[in-house]
Each structure stands twice: as structure tokens, then as C-alpha cells.
Symmetry: C2
Subunit: 171 residues, 2 copies
Amino acid sequence: MHLNQQTDFAFRILIYLADHTVADETGDMALARPKIREIADFYRVSYHHLMKVANALTSRGYVQSWRGKNGGLALARSPERITLGAVARDIEGHWEVVECFGTDSDCPLTNDCRLAPILNEALLHFWAILDRHTLADIARSPGDESPITFHSDLPYPLGPEPTREQRKPSL
Amino acid sequence: MHLNQQTDFAFRILIYLADHTVADETGDMALARPKIREIADFYRVSYHHLMKVANALTSRGYVQSWRGKNGGLALARSPERITLGAVARDIEGHWEVVECFGTDSDCPLTNDCRLAPILNEALLHFWAILDRHTLADIARSPGDESPITFHSDLPYPLGPEPTREQRKPSL
DNA sequence: TGGTAATATGCATTCAGTATGCATAATTCG
DNA sequence: CGAATTATGCATACTGAATGCATATTACCA
């Protein structure tokens, strides 16, 4: 009963992009394409792992990417049009609570199971909440005055990958 | 985003007990203590694995057990007093969606994360549904006339443990 | 009191999914 | 052409779940 780390990464990438695509610290829009390296450093998570999630977000149409020099990522849609539930379902593989809804179950209760509908109902309520919110709800609002942490403000040097101990994924 | 097989087993054990503690096919109440062996055969799942779940249910106070000859299992409370949500949380180890609610997260967003409250809300709605139902809702009601499958009605001989291929857990 | 039936418990193994790392390709810019 | 950056595939490690086995414990009964 939990979302996996990839989904957590996906949300955090989207939040980062929403918060950093307006302008960077120089005011230069062309440079305001956060790089995977930069995002990974900010969250102190594995660069390679985060890249895979970024790829998934790209192929699913949530994120736009540019390769090569001055490459990077940006949101492919406005935050209002990115639903949290859709992202979670796209990144998570299976999202059903019970699999006995499928066709190949031989559980003797299948024909008269009163549990499955209840679990299903609970699940629908769960997803209904996530489907009711978009990235705009969790990203910084335009008028938000709280400080944004830019790349150059990071309180640690940009060195090699953090070790497993240094990293602490939060999901 | 799913419940594990142990939780599935737990629900099915409880359903079986609720359906079979009234009387067995001989009308003898003393024999109406389903055995783990019997339940495992009925659902065609691993005997040993199901025993562990039965033990968990026993130690959590949902089920009463007797060892030795004529031993077996029975509900320790009336079905109305067994809440589905409580069972699931007791059998599942961790049941939070996000773990960054904990104290040892160093996610830079922790202090101003707008995602966590939403996930939390979704989760609360999920559990609210399960907490609203009891075993009485999913077990056979007393007036239910539909046939009950007794041990002796099983359409297959009681042989050795089914192989992995024969078994198809439904959750 | 010994045998049998049943649950209880601990340990070892297998398995699957997730996470991680590495190598290399592909692309873009200058 | 070279550097920077994303894209992709493969191999490995890690973790938790699932499974199986051995043995202990308990209770009934002859």
C-alpha cells in the first residue's frame, strides 16, 4: 500500500520543472532548462535512476527534453493540465489493489466475492483525490514570494554521486 | 499501490471462518472448527504460508485457535466487530503512501512540500472506506440461501500441496 | 503414558520487483 | 570535430515477499 520511489521521483522532477522554468538566476530564459544532473543534485538522489524517470515522463508527454549542449528538460504542458493521479498511474506499473478482478483467477469466491467491490470502492476514492489535483496545486504559485533555491545556492559542492548512505529517498 | 498476498489470505481466512463456524455438514458444532489444512485446500494456496497468516490473525486477536486433536480455528469476535481496515493494517506492515512524513527525511521539499498532504488525504479516504466495513459485510449473511461448499464437496482429491503452477493467488 | 493430530515458530531458500550502476549510442551546439 | 547532454540497454545488487522444511508445542484419546 504505497507508491514506489519512481513515482516519488516523477513528482519531484515535475515540481522542480514547474518551479524553475520561469527564469534562472541570470534572467536568461534559454538557460532555464533544468538538467537531469542538476535535479538529481538538488534532491541528492541517483542521477542515473532519476534519468530513467525523466525519460518516462518525456515519453508519456509530461516533459519535453532537449539533447546536446544547452539541453535539458521543461514541462510539456501547463501545470494545470498535469493531473497527479495520471502521473502516478503512468509511472507505477500496476495500480489495482486486488488482482483477482482479472480473468485468470481461480479463487473459489470469485463469483460471489463481496470483498472485491469494497476494495475497489476504496481504491476509487484514493485515485479520485489524486485526480482532483494538478501539478499547479503542488508547485509554487506565480505570486509565491518564498525563496527559490537555485543551483548556485546549493549548500554542498557538486561532486561525485552521493553514496547510498548520503542519499535518503523520501518515499 | 496494492495490498500484499498475506492480507488477501487474511481476508479469505476470516471469510471462511465466518461462513463455517455455524455448523458443519453433520450439524456437529464441536467439529465446526475449520483447520488450516482445510482452508488452504479450499482456496488452493500454500498450507504453510496460510498458517503464518492464521497465526498473525490469532496473535492479533481476530481468531481463536486450538491445538492438538480436534483443534482448529474460529473467529474470536463477532464479524460485526472485525473491521476490514484494521485487519489490513495489522497484516500489512507499512501502510503509509509516503514515508517522507517520517523524521529522517532530508528531502529539500520537506518543509514546504505540498504533495504530501494530498497523498495523505487520498490515503485517508482509502482507509475510511475499509474502516466503514466489517467482516459481516463480506461474509455470508445468516439468511443467505446460496450453497456453502463444504470440505467433503471439494471437486478435487485432498493430495499433496499444489504446485506453484496449480496455485493462482488472486491478490 | 504413548501416539496422533493439529497449531506454533524459526530458519533457509527461492523469487520478483525495485534500485543502481555502467557502457554506449544518439543528438545538438559551437 | 569535440564537448555536453539526453536516450537506451544490460548487468548487478538489494529488498521484501513467498515458499518450503524442520522441529517444537499442545491437546485429545486410547
